[in-house]
């Protein structure tokens, strides 16, 4: 019991943080928001998976990946392929020249399902693929880079380029991937309609619980010796290496885990939003994910969730009123955070939060004192009026 408390929740402060976050996303938001807005929050929370993965990779490991969109996208695409196949049964696609294959394939003169689409007819395989395809891809990237001791800025640039290449590939291979439009018109899982109001609620909660679960697992990893080694590597990589650790293995592992976490977010995105497109794979979304993590505080698993929510609400509000200004504002926000609040919202909270707590306590004191004074006056008045009679 104590073990769970310390390792998964992160002691008292961590447990309180998790409890407040759980309260917010499981109870407050679903009660306070209408379904449309709640669905938006659900979408934002899928980005939070990527932000949480960056806490491990960037915050603790010191490895800046500008390509988390790759894994978010791969997870999302795997899920979308399953949904698309189910939505393309021969009955609904009978007007196509080849019924039974996804519509965009038909438009691109494909006459049969490509081999790598076939296994996605199984939901079990799809779930495995969501978890494993991005992880294996991350392993290949990580193995080839970290074993050669590529790191720092070079690693960041290479991940960004891979994100770009993947986007170009997806857009270019329209017949296999749906091209620039992505995979759209997704409907059901084994007949269960994901567009229903009730399904939207269910998917929101599945997503929220998965996010909390991921935070627990990350907390466990970060409170283990592995977590301390990540910090040690960020500080003195050579000292870790010359203490008998194969540093590259640790980097590959944390990169793979971060890829898997982002992919879960991507798959939940597809389910909640109902489509997947290359615009969630490329450079811009990847950098946005880094900004979410930076704003929330890259050392804080819980902070980044708030960071993601805040930046995205800001984005929604601002891009409705000043769409052309949003990108500049986002850039300014990132620069501002890096320069003045390197630990983001979580850092501000740790530094000034106790004052807020103190204030609340003070307010209570003040109101208590006021109440006392009022009651004393009242008794005085009562006694005076009594004696006056």
């Amino acid at each position: 019991m104590n073990f769970i408390y310390e390792r998964f929740l992160g002691g008292k402060n961590g447990a309180i943080g998790i409890a407040i976050l759980a309260l917010l996303i499981l109870i407050v938001l679903p009660l306070a928001l209408d379904l449309f807005r709640l669905n938006l929050v659900g979408k934002y929370l899928t980005y939070a998976f990527a932000a949480v993965s960056l806490v491990l990779l960037w915050g603790y490991g010191g490895i800046l990946s500008l390509g988390q969109g790759i894994f978010f996208g791969l997870g999302g695409y795997c899920m979308a392929m399953f949904l698309k196949l189910e939505a393309s049964d021969p009955e609904t696609t009978k007007i196509q020249s080849t019924p039974g294959i996804p519509d965009f394939m038909d438009w691109n003169q494909l006459t049969e399902l490509p081999w790598f689409w076939v296994p996605f007819e199984s939901f079990g395989f799809t779930v495995l693929a969501v978890l494993l395809v991005p992880t294996i891809f991350a392993f290949i990237i990580g193995f080839s880079m970290f074993k050669r001791r590529v790191g720092g800025v070079y690693f960041a640039i290479i991940t960004q380029i891979i994100a770009l290449i993947l986007t170009v590939l997806i857009v270019g291979q329209q017949g296999y991937t749906g091209g620039i439009n992505g995979i759209t018109d997704l409907k059901t899982i084994h007949g269960w309609d994901i567009r229903d109001d009730s399904s939207k609620y269910i998917l929101y909660f599945v997503n929220a619980f998965l996010l909390l679960g991921v935070i627990f697992v990350c907390r466990y990893i970060l409170t283990s010796k592995f977590g301390r080694l990540l910090l040690a590597m960020k500080d003195k990589e050579d000292r870790v290496r010359f203490s008998g650790y194969d540093v590259s293995n640790f980097k590959i592992f944390v990169f793979c885990i971060s890829a898997m976490i982002s992919a879960i977010g991507g798959a939940m995105f597809t389910l909640q939003v109902g489509f997947m497109s290359p615009s969630f794979v490329g450079i811009v979304p990847s950098i946005e994910m880094v900004i979410f993590a930076a704003v929330g505080g890259r050392m804080s698993l819980i902070g980044v969730v708030y960071g993601t929510l805040l930046v995205n609400f800001g984005k929604t509000i601002f891009s409705e009123t000043f769409p052309e200004l949003w990108l500049y504002l986002m850039g300014a926000l990132f620069i501002g955070v890096v320069m003045y609040f390197p630990n983001g919202l979580a850092g501000i909270w740790e530094k000034h939060g106790y004052r807020l707590v103190g204030c609340v306590k003070n307010l209570q004191c003040v109101s208590n004192i006021k109440a006392m004074i009022v009651s004393k006056r009242a008794t005085k008045l009562v006694s005076e009026s009594a004696s006056g009679e």
């Binding site: 010796k225 910090l231 003195k236 050579d238 000292r239 290496r241 010359f242 203490s243 008998g244 194969d246």
Partner: protein, 247 residues
């Protein structure tokens, strides 16, 4: 090369950087229970020799045998796991972790990815950490963030991080740099204590300190050995006086 009784046997070791031979056909043998000090002017190749032994730099030719294992073909972490520990010139500790955590991370268990995820701090580990902390004079500082230690204490901590791995060959690059007189005395005592049961290789400039600890001294100059022997003979060697010790 045939097998030897030496803990460390370096033969014909050469490393050349773009034609410049930083270490040139070096032969060096270190015994068990021996504390060897390597001295020499700047650029003599002292640190490069340590880099070659611990795998940080790859040799151009020659062999390094440690307990009859060839080290030149191993990766850095494998060399450490074979029993070679190395302290860097500037104290290299994890500043944002406590003294205790620094030692805990260096404890030679849970060195793989999955091992580190399931690593548990047992009583045995805890006892060993406290034992080493006592040995390096940091018993009272276990909970302190290591960034707050004095320069000398950081040097000790790094030595402790090596000791906890119980290496058979311990290499220390300028262990008393930046230490006070008192700290130097304690360090000399520490080194004399820990060279029992293993070999220690020290690079040092402070001749008073060298005199206190050295069993044998090797003088390097331009990548080659200029002289080797006990302190007395080295100090009286005219060549050594010429290039290093001064008149």
């Amino acid at each position: 090369m045939t097998n030897t009784d030496f803990t460390l046997a370096i033969e014909d070791l050469t490393v050349s950087f773009d034609g410049f031979k930083a270490v040139d056909s070096l032969n060096l043998y270190v015994d068990k229970d021996e504390l060897r000090v390597v001295i020499g002017p700047n650029g003599a190749g002292k640190t490069t020799v340590l880099d070659l032994i611990c795998g940080k730099t790859k040799s151009t030719s020659g062999t390094i045998k440690f307990q009859n294992h060839e080290l030149t073909e191993l990766a850095e972490h494998e060399i450490v796991q074979a029993g070679v520990g190395r302290k860097f010139q500037t104290p290299s500790i994890y500043e944002n972790l406590s003294v205790y955590e620094n030692l805990e991370i260096s404890y030679p268990k849970g060195r793989g990815v999955f091992g580190s995820l399931t690593f548990k701090n047992t009583e045995e580990v805890d006892a060993r950490i406290r034992e080493v902390a006592d040995e390096i004079f940091l018993k009272e500082f276990l909970d302190m963030e290591s960034a707050l230690l004095s320069h000398g204490q950081k040097q000790w901590l790094e030595i402790g991080m090596l000791l906890i791995q119980d290496p058979q060959l311990l290499m220390l690059d300028e262990p008393v740099a930046g230490m006070s007189v008192k700290e130097r005395e304690l360090t000399a005592e520490l080194l004399n204590r820990i060279c029992v049961g293993r070999s220690v290789l020290v690079i040092e400039h402070d001749m008073d300190f060298v005199e206190k600890i050295a069993h044998k001294v090797t003088v390097l100059h331009q990548g080659r050995i200029l002289a080797e022997g006990d302190m007395q003979s080295v100090q009286n060697n005219p060549e050594v006086i010429e290039v290093y010790l001064g008149h």
